[in-house]
């Protein structure tokens, strides 16, 4: 065995171990969700769908899921719109304080989320705003916008500014250019931005926990359920559904993104 192939063997082993540690616990979730024991442990005692059936009639869970969906859609939509504006300013214009502005947009990425959550809570309460899904959406916007901006800045950088100029040159207005050239060209980045921010919002717990009023989002609901040991298998079933949905959504979004990318690739 040469030194090179030993090195290869070690690296392959390392990657295998890494992937196993990362995904093994996640894979246990669906396994236990079909197990008819109320405690998640081996050996498995028998196949059942009762935990899933239990979810079907659980209206509290349904409204939490609906809340999460609503928050996720709003947060990803607003975050992407704001991201388009910010990314355009950053990539296409020069202005005083640009470095500071883009730095501050990115800051929530590295600030401890619990600090953001507490300060937001204090501010929102002091201006007399009631906690609701709206406050959760606002909180989520704060942490989603940096991701949108990152994705969309690379989107803007990936297409030739003279395409927008060509559109103006051919008689089109600023808004017409946005509609007929800029947005179609940005479509892959817009899809990525919506997807990334939706998934961030969907499983965000800390901000939602602090800012939610009487309507919990799904992670907050799950957290609440974990206090009752008997509810654990239902949570496992719910988790399995979420994993499956995420996989489907990721696949669909990636397909859409690739199609859009093939259409707008410049070479």
């Amino acid at each position: 065995m040469t030194g090179r192939s030993i090195g290869r063997g070690i690296l392959t082993g390392y990657v295998a171990l890494y992937v196993a540690i990362l995904y093994f616990p996640v894979l246990l979730l669906p396994v236990f969700s079909f197990n008819n024991s109320a405690t998640p442990k081996f050996p498995l005692t028998g196949l059942t769908f009762k935990w899933y059936e239990g979810l079907a009639g659980n209206s509290a869970m349904h409204s939490a899921a609906w809340n999460s969906l609503l928050v996720g859609v709003c947060a990803s939509l607003f975050s992407t719109v704001l991201g388009i504006c910010a990314a355009r300013a950053i990539t296409r214009h020069k202005f005083a304080g640009k470095g500071a502005a883009s730095g501050l947009i990115m800051a929530p990425l590295i600030l401890p989320e619990i600090i953001i959550a507490i300060s937001l809570l204090v501010v929102l309460l002091s201006i007399g705003m009631e906690l609701s899904l709206l406050t959760v959406i606002l909180g989520h916007l704060l942490i989603c916008v940096p991701y949108s901006v990152t994705v969309l800045v690379s989107g803007f950088e990936g297409f030739d500014p003279s395409m927008e100029e060509a559109s103006r040159d051919l008689g089109e207005t600023v808004w017409g250019t946005l509609r007929r050239v800029t947005l179609p060209m940005l479509m892959p980045s817009i899809v990525s931005s919506m997807l990334v921010t939706f998934t961030i919002s969907l499983d965000e717990f800390i901000l939602a926990f602090f800012l939610t009023g009487t309507e919990p989002t799904l992670p907050v609901y799950i957290w609440g359920q974990l206090r009752f040991a008997a509810k654990l298998p239902n949570v496992l079933a719910l988790g399995s559904i979420l994993i499956a949905l995420s996989l489907v959504m990721l696949t669909v979004a990636e397909l859409v993104r690739r199609r859009a990318e093939a259409r707008t690739a410049t070479t």
């Binding site: 003279s162 051919l170 008689g171």
Partner: protein
């Protein structure tokens, strides 16, 4: 008669830096006008000011008699072929060409007719359904051209449109562009850093350096009587010789060149040898110097030594040291008589016609 484009006292500043100007020019209707200069000379800046992508800091631009101040690109009678072509990759060729027509609401029939006409004009008929990102460089260039021409602009602006093409295609497109311009008869303003492109295509050239226009004239005038050493050097290379005495007489001059002798030559318009100081500079193009072979004679013989030799296929460039001149001169000779076999270090005799010398101001 006022020109199609009137540029007066135009300057463009970026922060405290003056990138352009002041420049002025008058470009006639139907003229093929080139802005020629090295990168950073302000030629693209000026073109963008004409097209309405930027506003001048000072000065005015009028097109077709109408002042353009405050009018953005979409309201100007100009269209641009961008250096990158800027073909919309998400649209096909027909949609690209029809892009600007959509706003004119011509109706499907008329729109189709104009798109087809433009595609025929640039020899792209039949490629209408090809997507923007499935085209070769030459085809993209043609689509960009058709997309601009279909708008029937008064002025077509071209920003280094040929620089991305390989040499063969570039030369072919030069001929086609010139032909197209004559055929449709509108004003073309071309930005280029390629002297051959400018010389071969233009009615007139503005040579630019450091944000200023150094000379505006016909290609022949610029080549033969460059207004400055910079212009002379940028267009095709020029040998600079130092003179001892110089005296103007009418539109010409006489001078004494160390190592060469007494010569006479042309004065470019507006130049004054008396202002040239102690070491006036005389220029001669490399192709105007000829080798005097064994057994030949000439009225004037310049003795020199071959310092270096560069082979270019059909011609050889000999670098020759002349006694009394500080800088070596370059001589371009066809290879028919064996210029490519002259050894480095050997003595050589050169000659030139009496009208080959031109005085070089500043």
């Amino acid at each position: 008669m006022a020109g199609m484009i009137e540029i007066e006292g135009v300057e463009k500043h970026y922060g405290g830096f003056r990138a352009l100007g002041p420049v002025g020019a008058s470009i006639a209707e139907g003229e093929f006008f080139s802005l020629l200069g090295p990168s950073g000379c302000g030629k693209t800046t000026l073109l963008r000011l004409i097209g309405g992508f930027d506003e001048p800091t000072r000065g005015t631009i009028a097109i077709g008699g109408a002042p353009m101040a405050g009018r953005p690109a979409n309201l100007r009678p100009t269209n641009m072929v961008f250096q990158s072509y800027a073909i919309f990759p998400h649209l096909n060729v027909t949609e690209n060409v029809a892009y600007g027509l959509k706003r004119l609401r011509l109706g499907g029939e008329e729109e189709r007719r104009r798109v087809d006409e433009a595609l025929v004009q640039v020899e792209l008929a039949g490629l209408g359904s090809r997507m923007g990102n499935q085209l070769s460089g030459g085809q993209r260039q043609r689509v960009a051209l058709a997309r601009a021409l279909v708008m029937r602009p008064k002025v077509l602006l071209l920003d280094e449109p040929l620089s991305a093409l390989d040499k063969k295609l570039r030369e072919q497109m030069q001929v086609e562009l010139r032909h197209l311009q004559r055929q449709i008869g509108i004003t073309f303003v071309l930005v280029t850093h390629d002297q051959y492109e400018a010389l071969g295509m233009s009615d007139r050239i503005a040579v630019m350096f450091g944000g200023r226009i150094a000379q505006i004239a016909t290609p022949k005038e610029i080549y033969q009587n460059p207004a400055s050493r910079e212009v002379a050097d940028f267009l095709g290379g020029m040998n600079f010789l130092t003179a001892r005495d110089i005296a103007a007489n009418g539109s010409g001059f006489s001078a004494d060149l160390p190592g060469i002798g007494g010569i006479s030559g042309r004065l470019p318009a507006g130049s004054d040898p008396a202002a040239a100081g102690a070491a006036p500079v005389i220029g001669i193009r490399p192709e105007r110097l000829r080798i005097v072979w064994e057994g030949e004679t000439a009225d004037r013989i310049i003795e020199g030594t071959v310092a270096d030799r560069h082979y270019f296929g059909e011609v050889t460039n000999l670098v020759v040291d002349i006694e009394g001149q500080d800088a070596a001169v370059s001589v371009v000779e066809t290879n028919d008589f064996g210029a490519d076999d002259i050894p480095v270090g050997s003595s050589i005799r050169l000659t030139c016609d009496p009208d080959a010398f031109v005085f070089m101001p500043g």
